[in-house]
């Protein structure tokens, strides 16, 4: 179990902490083996397309805390994702019956003179403005490449402001250049929450389960109510008071360890809130295992067995129908690490054949260090081996593979990637809501959407006939790993 050092506002990035990589080409069984025996090494890409950075990942969680504010200490361009998070905020508020309102975000707007003379005054103003405008319960200050390279002592400045304003003010070290693995941004956001917001438990709440998620629909409240449990969805759409009491919950579960590894481990190692270590709750085997691990942790094994039996029975007939319809369809999966494994499992349960996959990065282990949550091995053991690329969201590699494999359907989680399958004429199903295919009923929901997508491919046919790809014929004829260098 990794040590959580709350005295430091910073923490080791994923490539150092977990050995995470962003380049690989092979298959799931081999990748899982290398992850376990410690031989996994990253490979350099000599040619790359623009990826993503830790800053977006940090802000996407922190800006959705309903009564906090984010100060992005950066030039204005680093706030170009504010619009996206604001829309995510409003979508989520609408779905959860909250009042729709703009998210609380400002930019310190660093300019050329700040790059020369320092940006401390701008940061001071921005924090005070955020405090005055939003009356927040906490302020998260997200760093940028520019603020990091200028090299200011943001931490002591924020400590002074915290004392003066009387609310928690946290430095979030999500400088884009710090990590090749953008999910490091989740970790630094959680680190800030653990350092500044979460308090030691005053009481214990034996029926409350922390659920680390993004912004998908709440499928947990109903599911957990059948076990006599309550779901505490975090971090998006939570509030500071709710987060301050995370230490009092009975357990922490995740729908994707890629997202929540640091927070779940932090709550366990700092406050003894057990992290449910299991494969993610997607596909029949994964959902069974996840629920059983939860039941064991909170002493509800009998209730869990009853739930599994009734849910499995409820979906048995429609699932059999879907399998008839989708059986043998060849699918290609592209998504972020563990969630990609989850989607591959879902396709397996739907009777489809996963002919290839690319995951944005790969964590050979999680912060808790236990093999029980190894979703890749779980995938191989339950659904067989599949070809895997770790592609860091490199569209040119994805297009190359898709053109060669010509799957019946391209299944994608991340925005901005699906379009490249669509332009190839491949029926493409992109869905950002990570809960849509969760659990037993998620299998049916997802399967029906896939059936709909392949049943009328007209749009994709026309798109492919009239689009122009930005790639050379030379590249489209190469092996997908042509730009992967030797192991680092």
């Amino acid at each position: 179990m990794a040590v959580i050092d709350l005295s430091n506002s910073n923490l080791p990035v994923r490539e150092h902490r977990l050995g995470s990589i962003i380049a690989y080409n092979g298959d799931a069984a081999d990748l899982a083996r290398q992850s376990r025996d410690g031989t996994l090494r990253d490979r350099a890409r000599s040619f790359t397309q623009a990826s993503s950075c830790a800053s977006s990942c940090a802000i996407c969680l922190l800006s959705l805390i309903q009564d906090a504010a984010v100060v992005n200490h950066a030039p204005l361009g680093c706030s170009a994702d504010f619009t996206m998070f604001n829309l995510t905020n409003r979508f989520g508020q609408f779905k959860r019956g909250l009042t729709k309102a703009n998210a609380h975000m400002v930019s310190s707007n660093l300019t050329e003179s700040d790059a020369v003379f320092g940006g401390a005054a701008k940061l001071d103003t921005a924090v005070r403005e955020a405090y005055a405008r939003f009356k927040p319960k906490a302020i998260f200050v997200t760093a940028s490449c520019a603020s990091g390279i200028i090299g200011e002592d943001v931490d002591s400045q924020l400590d002074r402001l915290e004392t003066e304003l009387g609310i928690p003010i946290a430095a979030v070290h999500c400088e884009g250049f710090r990590s090749k693995v953008w999910t490091t941004g989740f970790d630094v956001a959680y680190h800030a929450i653990l350092r500044k917001i979460v308090k030691p438990p005053v009481t214990r709440r034996p029926d409350l389960i922390n659920v680390i998620t993004f912004w998908g629909d709440d499928v947990f409240t109903e599911l957990f109510s059948r076990l006599g449990l309550r779901a505490n969805l975090i971090v998006p759409f939570s509030n500071i008071e709710q987060l301050s009491r995370l230490s009092e919950s009975a357990a922490t579960v995740q729908m994707c360890s890629t997202l929540g590894t640091y927070l779940a481990n932090g709550l366990e190692s700092l406050y003894g809130v057990p992290e449910v270590k299991a494969p993610p709750p997607y596909g029949l085997a994964g959902t069974d295992a996840w629920l059983r691990a939860l039941g064991k942790t909170v002493g509800k094994s009998a209730e869990v067995e009853a739930l599994i039996a009734s849910e499995r029975e409820a979906i048995a007939a429609p699932l059999a129908e879907l399998r008839k319809e989708l059986g043998g369809l060849r699918g290609y999966v592209a998504a972020g690490a563990v969630h990609g494994h989850s989607i591959a499992a879902v396709l397996g349960d739907l009777g489809m054949k996963v002919v290839g996959s690319c995951f944005w990065h790969h964590d050979p282990k999680f912060d808790h260090g236990s093999p029980d949550a190894d979703s890749l091995t779980h995938l191989v053991n339950n659904y067989g081996n599949i070809p895997v690329s770790i592609c860091n969201k490199q569209a040119f590699e994805v297009v190359n593979r898709l053109r060669q494999l010509k799957p019946d359907i391209f299944v994608v989680r991340h925005p901005g990637m699906g379009v490249w399958g669509g332009k190839l004429g491949i029926p493409t199903f992109q869905l950002e809501d990570e809960h849509f295919c969760l659990g037993y009923r998620g299998l049916l929901r997802y399967g029906r959407k896939i059936a709909d997508t392949v049943s009328n491919p007209a749009f994709f046919r026309h798109l492919a006939a009239h689009t122009s790809l930005p790639y050379t014929d030379w590249w489209l004829g190469q092996g997908v790993d042509a730009f992967l260098g030797a192991e680092e």
């Binding site: 040619f47 490449c145 390279i149």
Partner: protein, 439 residues
């Protein structure tokens, strides 16, 4: 006025990547941290009318994803490798390297790296667009100037009637594609061939190669693009016409066409005959909607406020005052115009018509804008701005139409607000938003 920006309505100079994406068959190469291109694509393109990736945008944008290694040891070799790769992988006619904060702060000599490739005959240029240097409007100009300085060659002869158009900024203006096509049509109407340079069917490098051959440059903009025209005048001796009003509706569009006609020495009869036909079309529909304007007058907005860049803020104000007879409240200009342009704009707003003036505030901080609107006590104002302003409009009991970045309540394809037809579209959209309140 605070230095802090809430609700950004423009981004940084690296946003010039979208100017490259707007050039047919051009390939942007972003030498910066790993997240810049993606954030800017989201802010300028996707979450702004849901403009998509295009051919070489979105996740296809080439990037060095500079991390600790490049920040500590410099990123020049990494950039060399990525350019080499781009020349093999990406199918394009013009490569534009844009530098972000990391490369410019650590002092990479990007210009030299790029010139090594240019010396080999590669069509490639470099623009230094670090985010801290300025905003999207500057980034657009820096990219265009880089192409002018490092790629264009003097033309053997001037092509009479060819005019380069420098106007709205691609992607930053959600309606740029439709607007530029509409400007092309307007100029064709008086016998000019517009060299549009951005967007569908604008001609890619073939069109850019003709830039030095143009008879003149047209800057149809309050200030953005003036630097480009000066640059072209200096390098190729091309004269330019600066028309600072983005023309919406009949009055301003006719005024614009007459100004261009006079500058280009087009026989007035040619210009007037086109104007007459277009105005007849425009006023036919205004006349037909007169019943609506009269009968619904009781519930038309009390004052209109624009919260937009100087193109739209001034263009829309002039249109609504002079053609619909509406009255302005305070106007907000959000593109940080240079000082001399602010003076000019203030005068233009002070004399929207002989009888109507408006106060103008130059700011792009949404918090400051909201505070001023809240405290002005307008009754049922019409707020013409961005998706950020939805809550403000609701709070002050007003109507709301989005016409500026960010727009997340509309899918935008080739809609245009410029010109005669653009005026009709704007009227339709304003009243659709008013009427939808009661549905």
């Amino acid at each position: 006025m605070s230095t802090t920006i809430e609700q950004p309505r423009q981004f940084c100079a690296l946003g010039g990547q979208q100017t490259v994406v707007a050039i047919e068959r051009a390939i942007p190469i972003v030498h910066s941290g790993p997240g810049c291109a993606n954030k800017l694509f989201g802010g300028l393109a996707f979450f702004n009318g849901f403009q998509g990736s295009g051919r070489a945008g979105g996740n296809a944008i080439v990037g060095t994803n500079s991390c600790e290694q490049e920040v500590i040891f410099g990123g020049e070799n990494r950039l060399r490798g990525v350019i080499e790769g781009a020349l093999k992988v990406m199918d394009g006619d013009l490569f534009v390297v844009l530098t972000g904060c990391t490369a410019d702060l650590v002092g990479d000599d990007t210009a030299t790296v790029v010139s090594e490739f240019r010396d080999r005959g590669v069509p490639i240029v470099h623009a230094s667009t670090a985010g801290f240097k300025g905003y999207t409007y500057l980034g657009h100009e820096l990219v265009v100037k880089a192409i002018i300085d490092q790629y264009l060659q003097p033309a053997p002869a001037v092509i009479p009637n060819l005019v380069n158009v420098w106007s709205v900024v691609p992607y930053q203006d959600t309606f740029w594609a439709g607007n530029l096509e509409a400007i092309r049509e307007l100029l064709a109407g008086i016998g000019l061939e517009a060299n549009i340079l951005f967007g569908h069917d604008s001609g890619g490098t073939a069109a850019w190669n003709k830039v030095p051959a143009a008879a003149f440059n047209l800057v149809l903009s309050p200030w953005t693009g003036l630097g480009i025209a000066h640059c072209l005048e200096e390098r190729f001796g091309t004269p330019f016409l600066h028309h600072p009003v983005f023309p919406i509706g009949a009055v301003e569009t006719s005024r614009f066409l007459r100004a261009v006609g006079e500058f280009a020495k087009i026989p007035p009869a040619v210009v007037e005959s086109y104007i007459q036909k277009q105005e007849a079309h425009f006023y036919h529909y205004l006349d037909r909607a007169a019943d609506f304007f009269l009968e619904m007058r009781w519930d038309l907005p009390g004052r209109f406020l624009t919260i937009a860049d100087s193109f739209y803020s001034l263009g829309i104000s002039l249109f609504l005052v002079n053609e619909l007879g509406l009255l302005p409240g305070r106007q907000f200009v959000t593109d940080e115009p240079p000082e001399d342009c602010r003076t000019a704009l203030t005068k233009q707003f002070a004399a929207l018509s002989p009888d109507v003036s408006a106060e103008v505030t130059f700011t792009h901080d949404g918090g400051e804008i909201a505070e001023l609107v809240r405290n002005s006590g307008y009754e049922q104002p019409l707020i013409i701005g961005t998706s950020w302003d939805h809550d403000l409009a609701k709070e002050v009991g007003g109507y709301h139409l989005t016409i500026a970045l960010p727009i997340t309540d509309r899918l935008v394809m080739d809609r245009a607000y410029v010109g005669y037809r653009g005026g009709l579209r704007l009227i339709e959209d304003i009243y659709a938003s008013v009427l939808s309140t009661y549905q």
